[in-house]
Amino acid sequence: MSENLRPMGFWEKVSKLDRRWIYSAVAITVIIPLIWRIDFPVGITPEAKQLFDAVEALPDGSTVMLTFDYYASALPETEPASRAALHHLFRKNCKVVTMTTIPLGGPTISERVTRDMAKLYDKVYGIDYVNLGYKANYVAVLSGMGSSIEDIYPADNSGTKLADLPIIQNIKNYDDIDFIFVVADNAIVDYWISIVNAQYNTPVGASVTAVSAPKYYPLVTSGQMTGLLGGMKGAAEYEIMVGKEAAAVKGMSVQSLVHFLIILMVIMGNVGYFVSRKKKPQAA
């Protein structure tokens, strides 16, 4: 009882801070650098460089499959990567085939982003790029495209027969695709590697959300995956390498400050914990 009545010390108060104070601190730390931007140089990791170099090494006019394997919930991490990739691919006059394994929003996002980017480079739908859209059961889709894309996708995202699209005339299956650039927010990358790369030898590079990035390091070190972008930082790295700094680079200063705040909070929480743990035996 007397323990409860004892006035709380500073560190005890700190360790019992109401969650709303923490939420407010996070919100303020995000808002301030969005208004007053502080820029720091973004370092390029070897995994990101590997992906960029692989795309850069493709001959002009190569065929690249770009996937939109992400939900709208992950847009801030993934859309900048898709846009940076499209800058790179369209600039190199690559033929771009887009598709998605995500049912909720995948086709709409891929349609919006691809058409938006194509306008910047005067690319024509059906000739320079095509959006295949979504088909159910990604394991079957990935496996089936190995023999024939048209078997799985008889029509594109708008319902136009694939046979009527000039771009598809020279693309039958993975053999005709020079590189697969996966942008994903889930474990689909596993299947792009274990089914497509392993069985059809098409090189696969990926941009994934930060949450899943650590999982794919062994696939990079084994050489199964050609480069990896992790989260918004990875997208920022690609934006810089492509020379089109946009949303991801802008987000990096905010990301820095919030990380520093969380690190500070973890340290304070631990100091508070150890101080109050030391005090407890004395009080008793």
Partner: protein
């Protein structure tokens, strides 16, 4: 940017800002506006699936081929039949008795074929190359650092596998290796946690960027200028 906004764009931005703030309001406490938006979200998402199934399966994979060349595509009636059988899950409805057992046929094909692909791809595409690389990295090592990394990787892989091997009690040698495994796992999970924080913060940055750049600066800014 702000000058060129039409009335429709303003309205769109304000609606988007409203739903964003309504959902953030849950951080303070649960409230009716949050609940309303939450139910709109559930409905819209389910509705999206309804359209998607039409555009990605029913029209391109079934109706279009059957409509344009029935003779050449009649075989599609078989998967169509299996698909319809999946819908027997919804029975009994009115006079239709419980036929839900029929849904197992379609389900069995889906599960079976996925298993067939998985059996090969998991072994051929993941287990074999990952195991081989663990040892091949010794051969690739060109200097002391790379060789040390190869040893580190081997120890990490083996101790992690041992830690997750629960068929044998973790005592003696297995216990000690599992102990090393847990140290490795803790470091890896810590790194993963760091990345997770990064991911979650990125998502918040996305919404806040919208609120500040598009709503406050873009829409509100152009109104008061």
């Amino acid at each position: 940017m702000s000058e060129s906004l039409t009335l429709g764009s303003h309205l769109t931005i304000w609606i988007e800002a409203f739903v964003t703030l309504a959902l953030f309001s849950f951080l303070y406490k649960d409230n009716p506006i949050y609940k309303f938006i939450e139910h709109v979200f559930a409905g819209l998402s389910a509705g999206y699936y309804a359209g998607l199934i039409g555009q990605s399966v029913i029209y391109p994979q079934l109706l279009d081929p059957l409509y344009s060349d029935f003779g050449g595509n009649w075989i599609l009636l078989i998967p169509f039949g299996f698909g319809m059988m999946m819908l027997t899950r919804l029975t009994p409805i009115g006079p239709i008795p419980d036929l839900s057992w029929m849904s197992r046929w379609g389900l069995a094909i889906t599960i079976g074929s996925t298993a067939g692909i998985f059996l090969i791809s998991q072994l051929h595409g993941l287990v074999m190359p990952q195991t081989l690389d663990t040892f091949a990295s010794f051969g690739r090592a060109g200097n002391t650092v790379e060789f040390a990394m190869a040893i580190l990787t081997l120890v990490g892989v083996i101790s992690t596998l041992v830690y997750f091997y629960f068929s044998k009690e973790h005592v003696g040698v297995i216990g000690r290796v599992a102990k090393v495994g847990i140290w490795f796992i803790m470091v890896a999970f810590g790194a993963q946690f760091g990345y997770t924080v990064m991911g979650r913060v990125s998502l918040l940055i996305g919404r806040m960027t919208f609120l500040i750049d598009k709503w406050i600066v873009g829409s509100m800014g152009s109104m008061f200028n």
